[in-house]
Symmetry: C2
Subunit: 380 residues, 2 copies
């Protein structure tokens, strides 16, 4: 039809994927399963050590990519970025998908975006850290027109970032966002603090959460609350009215964040220990000594008819952003609706005034995170 | 920068808006309030009687458009469609926004799409009716590359259609979708059937719902359940695996739908009566005679520890789609989380297996519906 040449410019979309951990592997599998005609051509696949690269498209399958990658030569991420830049043309969009959690790779986004390469990632580092890096990302994207999409940085596959962007873009006024943003914290408190009196000890719940794979390898990585303050920082940066009052110059580090690590155990939290399984065992063991304190918080809350939940709050009207262990009435959605390791996010806005817009569901896991990434790819 | 010419083709987006009722007016107001640089140029504005049209952009403000439109000449929708088609070019995308609920205008979508004009609408008619029309829409869109977006046909501004599309596009398997899809039905049953025994009579709740503006001018329009079966039809058409077992040849009319209009009152429901305020008064008056029956359903449910909710269900595994008055445990989200005229939608999928993905919030109202439309416009 005549229309096809005028209404849209046919483009191919070349995709370079970095990171082949749990999320990366799930993403590759989902990408290769997109039904024909698959609009995406996978041109690069990198681990920290090896890179498969072919501008005309890699010839790989779900079964073959792992062995092929293991024998591929190395290529630095910045060399890859240069190669990708050279492939951008009016006939071909190029997308860099970062499925790592690397700070170094996040540092390449401004260069990539500046050369017209789109960036999609569940990696929170670039959007929750140094405001300077974030501003360079926004500026590079604005100048080249290349986009950065990060739906899966908050709530994994749940429509959280996109919903916030839509609310803001269409002129709604955000009043407050509150939610349970950490799947680990959700699991822990859904099991520890219920409307019934008593219940298991805090350390025993942490122990089970770890055994079931709901925590990072070292549970202290979750109990610091920094995963929540990173997510809050990401959301906050989409709310224009917060910028003047809350510039967050240092990113998530400037968000007041309640750590659940008892101060007496703080000395156990070193970079070496966080990477050690034995140190994690010791930490959970030591945590038992503080079960009494957590018990007391739980029963104090229940005396008021409330449960404990680890929440993140962005209060636009008060200009306040915080991650804290708070008490919620047993009739509140955080008490009645939550289960498992669900995330839940309540958007209180001018339009959703009387009752908030709520998004809820699994907020972590390789499959749902990869889905958030692939969803963004479809939006390019 | 060199990149800007290669990475994206700069395009302007010309927007033609039809329908200036509550949703249309809210949409125009939101569109005119998009912060600069506003990427959209409003080129046409039509009511059923008048059309403002200027290919270079209408010079209107939030205050001036109503009086200007009232003195504008008429133009048929099909003439407008021809004018729009002539404006499509590689440098300019053209979007037709249908804020009416007109079946006739819905019938123009294939023509518009076939000539490369994108279509965005909260109008359910084209997507929930005749499968032939729907197929012509899909085909025309596929051939020209012009898109049709209808996020606001289900749940207004809530991310329901988009979430379903993302789930399907990224390869998740939908098992079941269930929800309260009608704001009116939500309001009525949230007030009529609670975990406490007794409560107001059915007819009194309908009367209040009508007085508060939660119903259509004639509440029978809501009580037929067809609003729900239309929404279910729209969702069903995005689920590939349902197609063979459930072709829905007649659209929403083939969805088994429980009407809450007592059969003895069915004779009161005529096209003339539905447009008459006096007939609506009579209907609500007559409804009192059936309060006993509704009371009994309510207390029967509560004996089982359940409440009544008017729900829509798409059960993919069973190949079953239905709109019905069902009983849900008092601990179910439909009983605990719902309030006001909230919609709630639960997506049970392969990835969201143990616990569903949930979207909840106001699912009707001019502002939130217009927001869903404008959100779609940003996606073009």
């Amino acid at each position: 039809m005549a229309a096809s040449s005028t209404s849209t410019t046919p483009r191919t979309i070349a995709v370079a994927v970095t990171g082949v951990g749990l999320v990366g592997s799930a993403f590759i599998s989902q990408l290769l399963s997109v039904p024909k005609p698959n609009p995406f051509r996978l041109i690069a696949l990198s681990s920290s050590k090896h890179t498969l690269f072919s501008p005309h498209g890699l010839e790989i399958t779900s079964e073959s990519w792992k062995p092929l990658l293991q024998t591929a030569p190395p290529k630095t991420a910045s060399d890859l970025a240069k190669d990708l830049a050279s492939l951008v043309s009016p006939a071909q969009a190029v997308v860099f998908v970062d499925n790592t959690s690397s700070e170094a790779i996040a540092g390449l986004y401004p260069t990539l975006l500046g050369t017209g390469v789109h960036v999609i990632t569940p990696n929170k580092k670039a959007f929750s850290g140094d405001a300077g890096l974030y501003e360079r990302i926004v500026r590079a994207s604005g100048e080249s027109g290349a986009r950065f999409l990060n739906e899966s940085t908050v709530g994994a596959g749940l429509p959280v970032v996109g919903t916030l962007k839509d609310l803001v873009a269409t002129g709604d006024k955000i009043k407050k966002i509150e939610g349970v943003f950490s799947g680990t914290m959700s699991y822990i408190f859904n099991n520890f603090s219920t409307p019934q009196p008593g219940g298991p000890s805090f350390s025993s719940v942490v122990k089970i959460a770890r055994e079931q794979g709901y925590t990072e390898p070292h549970p202290a990585d979750d109990l610091t609350g920094s995963d929540v303050s990173r997510k809050l920082t990401i959301l906050t940066r989409y709310i224009p009215s917060l910028k003047p009052s809350l510039p967050l110059p240092q990113g998530y580090l400037s968000v007041p964040t309640a750590s659940l690590i008892p101060s007496q155990l703080q000395h156990l939290i070193t970079p070496e220990n966080l990477a050690s399984s034995a140190a994690a065992d010791t930490f959970v063991e030591e945590l038992q000594k503080f079960d009494g304190e957590f018990d007391e918080m739980r029963s104090e809350a229940l005396k008021e008819g409330k449960v404990l939940r680890y929440v993140g709050v962005v209060d636009v009207e008060k200009g306040e952003v915080k991650a804290e262990l708070a008490r919620y009435p047993v009739t509140h959605p955080f008490a009645t609706s939550l289960g498992g390791s669900d995330n839940i996010v309540l958007f209180h806005t001018e339009r959703y005034g009387a009752r908030p817009l709520i998004v809820q569901g699994a907020g972590a896991g390789a499959e749902v995170t990869a889905m958030g990434v692939l969803g963004d790819l479809f939006r390019i």
